[in-house]
Structures are given as C-alpha cells and as structure tokens.
Amino acid sequence: MNDKPEKLIDKKGVRLDGRKADELRPVKVQVGVLPNADGSAYIEHGKNKILVGVFGPREVHPKHLSMSDRMVIKCRYHMAPFSVQERKSPAPSRREVELSKVIRESLEPSVFVDLYPRTGIDVFIEVLQADGGTRCAAITAASLAIADAGIPLRDLVVACAAGKIDDTVVLDLYDAEDKLGMADVPVAYMPNLNAVTLLQMDGVLAPEEFETAVNMAVEGCKKIYLVQKEALRTKYMTTVVKEEAEE
C-alpha cells in the first residue's frame, strides 16, 4: 500500500495539494457539448472529469412508470471502468445506485415537474475520471445540462463538499483527503432560494464542526454558482448583441 502521509494539512494551514483550508479546486464547465442530447454539460473540478447528457422532456417508457400529473426524473450516475485507480467493473455498484438516487433527489426540487405531466427527463452522468467529490461535480454539471435542454427551473443546483482532515474543517476534499480524512460532507444548494437539496455525511464530527462544514460548503457552492452562470452566458451570449431598433 502507498505510504500514508503524516499530516494532511501542515502547521501553516497548507494542504498536500498546496491549497488553504477554505480553498476550492479549480472548476471549469462547458455547456452544450453533446450534439445528440437535448442538453449537456462537461465539468472539470480538480481532476474530476464528468460528462452529463439530458434527454427530454419526452414520453416515458415503459408507460406504467409515467405519472399522470407530473414529469418523472430519471438519473443514472455511472463511473467509467478507467475512471479510477483500480479498474472498476462496468456493472452498476451499490454505491452508484445510491448516488443515482440522491443526485436525482438533489436536482428534482429545481425542476417545475408539474408543467409537463406524463413526460420524463433522463439525466445520464458519466464519470470519466474521479478524484473525490464526484457526486458534487456531477450535480453541478447535471443542473447545467438540464438548463441547456430548455427545461424550466427554479434555480440552478450547485454542489460542493466540506470535511475534516487531521483536526481542521476544510473545503472541497480530493480523493486522498476523503480516504484519509475524518469526515466528508457533500452539499447541493440552490443559491437564490437558500435551499439545500443534497446533504450527506460520513465520518465523525462534533456538532459545531458539522455546522462549520455546512456553512463552508454553502459558501463554496456560491462560488461555483458564478462559474455555472458564466458557462451559460458564454454559450448563449455568442449570438446575442444588444439589439437596436429594427428597420
């Protein structure tokens, strides 16, 4: 096994990857990258590389899964076999099944499901490379893909995790910190509505530490939200120029 580092964060508050406690990894997003999908987005969050395609609203098959008064949201979180250190079998693992569910539940509050009864949207998340915090990066991209599909939303959903390494609460753990750290708290958030739509925690945290972690994660979310909005503006701004009076 690899030798475990002595400390994950040193006395000066610098982490193994050079970041400070409340520093995010770099985030880059692109919208509208898959020509065949109704909406799509690609995100690089630290070393995470995740692609999301959205189809719909469209009729639900099999029909008995459709709901007469609202839209159904289906979500599949899946990791490519080459996305992790040790090749992962392509068959869905229990973790992927759970994540598919919690990610769906994080996106659903943002969608106006009552507007299009008897239809469904499919959200397909493919993790091409994983380095800790994939569910958060996936949610950030998935929400953009849903907006890119022209589906009406209450707000974009953005996600970020906080956690504890050694004795310090830090923002945005990468894989090594998640594995060797004391706790991980992923949070998904709709900033304009101050609504947390995903919250999980594993590890051990004193209640005050948990409060610090949640607040830190929410602040991280707000920063990534700006990146999301910018990505949408970039895609749709290229054809928009201030309109003058027409002849």
Partner: protein, 235 residues
Amino acid sequence: MPTFFEKKQLVTPGELLAEGDYQPGENTYMEENRIYAQRIGLVDAENKRVNVVALRAFYVPKVGDIVIGTVIEVGFNGWTVDIKAPYTAMLRASDVLSRPFKPQNDELSQVLNAGDLIVAKIASYDRAHDPQLTVGEPGLGKITRGQIMRVTPTKVPRVIGRKGSMISNIKQETGCQIILGVNGVILVTGKNTADEELAMMAIRKIEEESHTSGLTDRITQLLKEEKSKMEENKT
C-alpha cells in the same frame, strides 16, 4: 418597487428579476413577491409584466399551430406522429380519409406509412391528453418534395421577421416555397436543390445571428450575392 436588470439582459434560471408590484410573464415565476427567471433568455418588462424571451426552449403544442411531423407508427385507427415535442401526436384515420373508415378494408399504411412527413395543424391538446392533429385543410397533408430542416423553436418568429419581411425576402430571392412549422421544423421546396440549399443556408444564418440588428438587410444581401455567384458558375 425595483427591477434588477437592464433591458434585454441575458439571465439564467433562478436569477432574481424584480420585487414588488410586478406580474410574472413568459418563462418567469413568482415566489412570495419576487419574480425569478425560469429559463436562459433575454429579460424585459412591459407594463409591469416581466418576460424572458427564452434562448433555449422546446416546443409545447398549442391548438391551431401548424407543425411538421414524421409518422412513427401506423396504428389501428390512425397514426402516431413525432412533432418534436415532449408529447407524440395522434392523427386519426377518420381525419384523413374522406369517407367512413372501415378497419378491415382500409390499409392505413397505404395512405401514410412510418417515415412519411406531414404538415398538420394541432386540433386539440390539453394537460391530460396528447395532441391530436388534423390535415383537413388546404395546404396540409403528406409532404412529397422538398427538404426538411430544424431550428430551435424560439427562433421561428425571427425567421418570419417583422410583418413577415424576412421570410418573404428569402422566398423571393430563392424562388422557394417555405412552410415554417411552429415546432421548429421547416420545409423548403424549390425548383432545384441549389435554390433549396440557398434558402436553408439563409435560415441557418438567421438562427445563428438572431439577435443582431440589420439582419434582414444582411440576409437579403447575402442571398443576392450567392445567387449571382450561382449565375456566374452556370455561364
């Protein structure tokens, strides 16, 4: 009572547009007394009504819309038609056949088969039922010639232009017949493929540059230039 945007500003879903004495218009929603955007688009207010012109939206059927669709299935008493909407549409046999319909005798696939294109009108549609189509009016029915292209439905009004100016120019310059489905599917029928491609290129350009000004003139200019090139190549 404030608004939080400039005229025609690009807004994203969830962005706060106004607070107080305003009404939520297109692609917006209201929470308590605040109005937020639902889609990516350009925001504007008209008489206290805040609207967002969506830059990205799918087609939602409305009774009376002319649409172009593809037959996907021949059923027992009609056809299922893909109109590029969240719901598939139905065209009843009784609507197409001018005489009473006998399931045993009439072979529906002879009339319309899977893969056929039709121009139709939305006859009925509501929350509980899929849209029903009709082809019982002049100009509607099976498409036999021409080329099909798709634009995002929000751009169709731009292709039409103010008082139809844009679409008339294209028709004039290319000599093509153009049917614009409200669902973003467009049929271009010309005397030859070169004319049809010219018209299609112009429409694609409109979709790309839809929010620039002076577009109608530029398109007309472009069409004239291309046509003279075509004439030169002929001689």
